[in-house]
């Protein structure tokens, strides 16, 4: 579903590589933690996958699209197949929970009856059916992140990318959030979570791809993550 073939990424000429010769394949329906210290290249991988940036060298393939040859006008088509979740939630503060999620479908030109059906369905998936009329500032951090996940999933994309989704949350809430991502994964969605949160990685025991200074140093099924070791190196 997502393939990195010998990918190197430099943000500017002469800069050190943010990713160096990265070679990884993530299959359909997999759940992968991409782990590593800050600056190890996790977010860069995410940005390359949604074509926020183009790889300096190598090929990135996502959902059947070769991103190195994808014309600009096809980028929206790619992005409709990927849901994205960020550390800072990125909700629209002037809209209710319901409106925040409906916004995605409105932008994509969905009909009203489709929106009326999909929004409650998605809110149920993340357990927020009772908070539809709340404003984001009335919600806890965990609830806001659940709204963000609902928004990412309302269009039913086959891939979900989450960049540090638990970065602003306490350990218990973090676990709830990853449980939701796990539940989404069980419905067949490919889920990639970039994180440096050791506890969630060690609790959920999924495939772990570890980055250090832009290189993959470990790719392990049902892996663990000891952040301290990495930080010391």
């Amino acid at each position: 579903m997502i393939t990195f073939e010998n990918v190197t990424m430099r943000y500017a000429k002469g800069d050190p590589a943010a990713l160096q010769d990265v070679e990884v394949e993530i299959g359909r329906g997999e759940f992968v933690f991409v782990v590593g210290a800050s600056g190890s290249g996790k977010s860069t991988m995410m940005r390359l996958a949604i074509l926020e940036h183009e790889a300096t060298k190598g090929r990135v393939l996502v959902a059947g699209h070769d991103l190195s040859t994808l014309p600009n006008r096809r980028i929206p088509v790619l992005r409709r197949q990927i849901g994205t979740v960020f550390q800072d939630f990125r909700l629209l503060s002037g809209k209710t929970v319901n409106q925040n999620i409906a916004y995605v479908l409105q932008v994509l030109g969905q009909r009203r009856h489709v929106i009326r059906q999909l929004v409650p369905e998605t809110l149920e998936l993340v357990g927020l059916s009772d908070k539809v009329r709340r404003m984001p500032h009335e919600l806890s951090g965990g609830e806001q992140q659940r709204v963000a996940i609902a928004r990412a999933m309302v269009n039913k994309p086959p891939i979900l990318l989450a960049d540090e989704p638990t970065g602003n949350l306490d350990p218990t809430t973090s676990e709830e959030i990853v449980s939701i991502l796990d539940r989404i994964n069980r419905t067949g969605t490919t889920v990639v979570v970039a994180t440096h949160d050791t506890s969630i990685v060690n609790t959920f025991r999924k495939r772990v791809v570890q980055l250090r200074d832009g290189r993959i140093v470990r790719d392990q099924a049902r892996g663990e993550y000891e952040a301290v070791e990495v930080e010391l190196v």
Binding site: R73, L78, R79, L92, Y103, V107, G109
Partner: protein, 307 residues
């Protein structure tokens, strides 16, 4: 993107940026007002010139039944024999007379009606008092006197006129008005372009979260850009409407209402533009506003809103 949603986005954008939108409206209004003023000054020049101005140098007006106060017309209207005689004389002045045209009373009356369409004096002038004429084109316009002396006082000739002498000073003035107005308009259009770019930049900044989300979920560039463009188009079209309103007041009350009465009262007869001329100019103003809005906002969006 559905129309209702699009309009909602446009409404939100306008509400959030009221101050900037008002300034775009006003700057567009001022720039298009000056542009309109320049164009109207040009149509005033064209109205004054009439049909013959750019074609001939001299007009030889023939006697009408009313012009008995002129010695050469003591016998009343010009006769066919006199007409033929004058034509033969004109032929004789070749090569100085390069070309000449005969304008009949009917044709002259039609042109007169066209030229003075906005003037109340039109109703008081009967067709027979508009003279028929020979319009003469000279190979050397400076030798006007040669032709004038040959025809002044000839039987059947009421008067010989070099109309340019009278109106050219006025044209110089009107052309200066027209040029300054268009120059001012150009400066104001530049202001409008800069202001629209800045407004879009600010709007894009205040709406960056929405556009980021739109981008992430796979909205097309068209979907992301359209609300911005529509907001700008609405602001500039409103500006154009206000400019046209101002120009209309100027023409309706200032020229048609005031100047025409003033000139008629003084006994002067001068063809003036009316609101009809404004409606000919107005589509260009609205078109200009649309062009300004669409081109400028699209350029600004390419710079400030990533897709």
């Amino acid at each position: 993107m559905r129309l209702g949603f699009l309009l909602g986005e446009v409404g939100n954008g306008l509400r959030r940026n009221t101050g900037m939108v008002v300034s775009v409206v006003l700057v567009t209004m001022v720039s298009l007002f000056f542009l309109g003023l320049g164009l109207l000054a040009q149509s005033q020049v064209d109205t004054l010139k009439g049909y013959w101005y750019d074609r001939v140098q001299i007009s030889i007006f023939l006697c009408t039944p009313d012009s008995t106060d002129v010695a050469a017309c003591a016998d009343g209207g010009v006769t066919q024999a006199q007409r033929d005689r004058l034509a033969a004389d004109l032929e004789g002045l070749d090569p100085l007379v390069e070309q000449y045209f005969y304008e009949s009373n009917e044709a002259a009356y039609d042109r007169f009606r066209e030229q003075f369409r906005n003037s109340p004096v039109l109703d008081n002038i009967p067709q027979e008092s508009i003279p028929e004429s020979y319009r003469v084109q000279l190979s050397d316009p400076t030798r006007y006197e040669v032709v004038a002396s040959a025809f002044v006082g000839a039987p059947g000739v009421e008067s010989v006129e070099d109309q340019r002498e009278v109106v050219d000073k006025l044209f110089t003035f009107l052309n200066a008005v027209s040029l300054s107005a268009v120059a001012l308009a150009a400066v104001m259009v530049l202001c409008a372009v800069l202001l629209i770019s800045t407004t879009i930049r600010l709007t894009a900044w205040s709406r960056r979260r929405e556009t980021t989300i739109m981008r992430m979920v796979g909205a097309s560039a068209f979907t992301i850009h359209t609300p911005f463009v529509i907001e700008t188009v609405l602001a500039t079209v409103l500006g154009a409407a206000l400019a046209i309103g101002l120009l209309w007041s100027m023409v309706h009350f200032g020229i048609a209402g005031f100047l025409t009465d003033l000139l008629a009262g003084q006994g002067g007869m001068i063809g003036l533009i009316g609101t009809g001329d404004l409606w000919l100019v107005a589509p260009f103003l609205v078109g200009g506003a649309l062009l300004l809005a669409i081109v400028t906002s699209w350029m600004a969006l390419l710079r400030h809103v990533r897709v």
